[in-house]
């Protein structure tokens, strides 16, 4: 790894800005967050990713100070936040509902936090103007929140939470209310603003594509626990569990008995060769669809299984073939459409061969 790659989490000399140390949060008997530890470094765009109800918002609200951990410590820049009230934390939050003050115009919404700090009038004005420029809303400064569009409201909320130049900006599903096209545009804007301001961002999302697009690292959550924390590429290429492999992108999982060099997956079928140092025993081979080649004739490869095409999804540049292999499992294989449709020779019900190398897949025992 070269020096100019941003990867402070690999550098033992760096100290984290945010540290969750063995944090547990219970609501009555229900454990919403179960012994979570995370280190987040300055300048990161850190994503909490998981299905609805897995505890992402709760984790974030504890950092903002709206919930108190049942046990464990949350520290910011080395300081324990335990007894610091929300209005004294150098953290600002952009709420899922935006929480814009309906009785104030855009300008006053953005100025709200600056005024609480008792900043002189001209400094407040200068900072608000700067924020309005950053989110390109100068023309809407005098409008009330109910007189602007959803996308504009989202930008006001962003500007308001950035105005005080917090050390950490928390974003709870910031793009959830936007339509798909606007969401994609805004994702790039967010990254841009994050780089411009140098603020550490922590974003909550249940959209894996969004997390992959914007973040430096992602924590994948499931029912209050962290399954894996890694860069988007590592999560995709080296998931540590079926849960993560399935949550991040599309994956085929073939169950079998792992013997250290081959996976015995079906009676009477050639075992699958995989290079892996996973412990022997029951395991799953995780194969991404694009790592599987599909052909009419048996290919010379480390692994090849015959099957029958039962479905083809044409996606323009790509086609996904659904192939039923011996034993009845359906495997998805993806091929780029380098040739015109009329020239392609694989169609429904054809018998085909799926092949892949011994390094294409991963053996997961969990």
């Amino acid at each position: 790894m070269t020096d100019d790659v941003f990867a402070p989490w690999n550098d033992p000399g760096q100290s984290p800005l945010i540290r969750y140390a063995n944090v547990t949060k219970k609501f009555g008997e229900f454990t919403a967050i179960d012994n979570v530890s995370i280190d987040i470094f300055p300048g990161e765009f850190f994503a909490l990713l998981g299905p609805s109800g897995c505890g992402k918002t709760t984790l974030m609200r504890m950092l903002a100070g709206f919930e108190t951990p049942t046990s464990g410590i949350i520290s910011l820049g080395g300081q324990d936040m335990g007894n610091v009230p929300p209005n004294k934390r150098p953290v600002n939050m952009m709420f899922q509902s935006y929480a814009l003050f309906p009785h104030m115009n855009v300008w006053d919404n953005i100025a709200f936090g600056l005024r609480r700090d008792g900043l002189p009038k001209d400094q407040v004005a200068a900072r608000v103007e700067e924020m309005l420029r950053l989110v390109q809303l100068q023309k809407f400064a005098k409008r009330k929140p109910d007189a602007i569009s959803g996308g504009q409201r989202q930008r006001v909320a962003l500007a308001r939470s950035l105005a005080k130049a917090p050390k950490v900006l928390l974003l709870d599903e910031p793009l959830g209310a936007l339509d798909k096209k606007l969401r994609q545009e805004t994702q790039f804007e967010l990254v841009d603003i994050q780089e411009k301001t140098g603020t550490t961002f922590m974003i909550v999302t249940h959209d894996q594509e969004e997390a992959m697009t914007v973040s430096t690292r992602i924590a994948v959550m499931d029912e209050g626990i962290i399954k894996q924390i890694d860069t988007p590429a590592s999560l995709y290429e080296a998931p540590n569990s079926r849960y993560v492999a399935d949550f991040i992108g599309d994956v085929n999982l073939i169950e079998g008995d792992w013997r250290g060099d081959t996976l015995h997956w079906a009676e009477g079928q050639t075992p699958l060769a995989v290079q892996s140092d996973a412990p022997v025993g029951k395991a799953w081979l995780a194969l991404r669809p694009e790592k599987i080649a599909i052909s009419k004739d048996q290919a010379k490869a480390d692994n090849a299984i015959p099957g029958q095409v039962i479905d083809i999804a044409y996606l323009g540049n790509l086609s996904t073939y659904v192939v039923e292999i011996p034993g009845g499992q359906k495997i998805r294989a993806q091929a780029t459409n380098a040739r015109r449709l009329s020239r392609r020779d694989i169609t429904w019900n054809d018998t085909v061969w799926l092949s892949w190398t011994s390094t294409a897949g991963l053996v997961l025992s969990e």
């Binding site: 929300p86 509902s97 936090g113 939470s161």
Partner: protein, 260 residues
Amino acid sequence: MKMSRFNVVSLTLGFAFLYLPILILITYSFNESRLVTVWGGFSTKWYGVLFQDERFLGAAWVTFYVAFISASIATVLGTMAAYVLVRGAKFRGRTLFSGMIYAPLVMPEVITGLSLLLLFISIGLDRGGFTIILAHATFSMCYVSVVVSSRLVSFDRSLEEAALDLGATGWQAFRLVTLPIIAPAVAAGWLLGFTLSLDDLVIASFVSGPGATTLPMRIFSEVRLGVSPKINALSAILIGMVALGVIVASLTTKRAAQRP
């Protein structure tokens, strides 16, 4: 949809039942004749007579300041109670407290009046305008807290959290964010308290002392000596004020409900 004959008739009967007496009263307040039940032509002279009457003017003044001050006290206390009961941390017996704050709404007025009277006597408070204010503030407060808490229940909590998050203290968050947003409900509560106080005869009679007579008390004592057209005029004025208060209160509540 066209209303059926039955609906028209029952609606007319219902409204007639409700408003005919009031209409008659208002009509007769413009009666030229001295006799209450004989129409002698249109005149506003009884209103003139009324405004010359010192005792009427005194009672009007007492009624007004009692209503104004008691509604204001009730608004502050009722809003505070509503805020704590809706927002405050869950404490033991919160449900009991919420229930108890509504109890005076269903308590017979005679009992409220009597118990307040006993209280004032036992602490040796001189009865007069001040005790009426206290008594009215007590029961108006329940109404205010009902109106304000129904607004607070639908209030987006994250607005307050956003204010705190941006560095506001709890009090600033309330004053700068919560209060302006619930203001229409608070105003409606105040108007309701004001109207209830204008209206009240029973409790005021119990707790008032010499020199503090409200308009309803004045009317009641004069009617015992016979109904005069002057009383009709006075009642008409009171009806007008109460109606105005109720209309404004319901309009502000409606506006409050439409706000996000």
